[in-house]
Amino acid sequence: MTLNVTINGEPADIDARTVLALLEERGVDPEARGVAVARNGAVIRRADWSETALADGDALEIVKPFSGG
């Protein structure tokens, strides 16, 4: 069964059950420096990615640094 979540503002059906699994499912290298994740408005620390369970309706933000002024 898939979960219906929002990733970076877009609705998505995912099989992953944890933040770590989600990153892998989406092709984001979890080892890459600079990646940060928030779930429902709260940052999930990298150390907690493998244990943080996802739920139906979660709003996830996956970010990294870009150029900026």
């Binding site: 990733i7 970076n8 503002g9 989406r26 092709g27 984001v28 890459a32 420096r33 600079g34 990646v35 940060a36 994740v37 928030a38 408005g41 940052v43 620390r45 990298r46 933000e61 996956i62 970010v63 990294k64 640094p65 870009f66 150029s67 900026g68 002024g69």
Partner: protein, 263 residues
């Protein structure tokens, strides 16, 4: 030689107990390409470089800014955030992403002018300072707002010279001077710099540093302009510390009055 000149070598910019030799802070956006950006940053002598935090494009992503800019202190911004809530979450994501508690706080009140939303800015600054962030807010050129931000515990204030990216220089030098004369924390002129003389003027008015991006990134020759900005900031700082002569309304000859031929 006055003492204050002799000590120029130790004239460092200090923000939150960290010391910097360069008083120029530089942005990383809008350069013709990545190599020009890196060359311009190198030429500028800046030690602090700003970055943004954005959603990953899930269709793959390029080389990480973290690796590219590892010799700089990265200053993530909250550019584009229009509420205190978004700015705070962006700062928290930046802290996790870059392992820094420094943040250039922007809360934008108007998309067209990119003017700060003072109410949201104060609210976000308060929250972030309380959560242990080193907050450098982009703010209005208003001594009262700057004072409030300093009182909340911001590590510096960064009043705008003019609209972001406009190149209009310092539209209200008197206000900047007033802010400098009253600020208990470093004042970094942020936004509006168009060319080297704008950066020099900011320093002559007593600013502790200058943050710019577009003036270098969009110059015809960004690397050369970065060098000009480095020199302008240094020259403006030296002039400030040297004590300019007072303005007066009449001429005063510099050459000796005696010994003129034909007298």
């Amino acid at each position: 030689m006055p003492d204050e000149l002799r000590s120029t070598a130790e004239d460092r910019l200090t923000i939150a107990d960290e010391h910097f030799s360069s008083r120029l802070l530089i942005g990383t956006a809008g350069y013709p390409n990545q190599q020009v950006m890196l060359d311009a940053l190198g030429e500028s002598g800046a030690e602090i470089a700003t970055v943004s935090i954005r959603r990953i494009s899930l269709e793959g992503y390029a080389e990480s800014m973290v690796d590219l800019l590892k010799s700089y202190r990265l200053l993530p911004n909250t550019a584009g955030c229009e509420t205190a809530k978004d700015a705070v979450l962006t700062a928290e994501l930046a802290r996790e992403s870059l392992e820094t508690d420094w943040v250039k706080l922007e809360v934008i009140g108007d998309r067209e002018t990119l003017y700060p939303d003072v109410e949201g800015l104060l609210q976000a600054a308060d929250q972030l300072v309380k959560s242990g962030f080193t907050v450098l807010p982009y703010c209005n050129d208003d001594p009262v707002t700057c004072r409030k931000l300093a009182d909340l515990g911001c590590a510096a204030v960064m009043p705008l010279g003019s609209l972001i990216g406009s190149g209009q220089g310092l539209q209200n030098p008197a206000a900047i001077e007033l802010i400098v004369s009253r600020s208990p924390v470093p004042v970094i002129l942020d936004a509006g710099i168009g060319t080297a003389s704008d950066a020099a003027l900011a320093m002559e008015l007593g600013c502790d540093g200058v943050l710019l991006n577009t003036a270098v990134a969009k110059a015809r020759d960004p690397v050369s302009m970065a060098g000009a900005m480095r020199d302008a900031v240094a020259a403006g700082r030296a002039a400030r510390r040297s004590g300019r002569i007072p303005r007066q309304s009449r001429a005063e000859p510099s050459s000796p009055q005696l010994g003129l031929i034909g007298s």
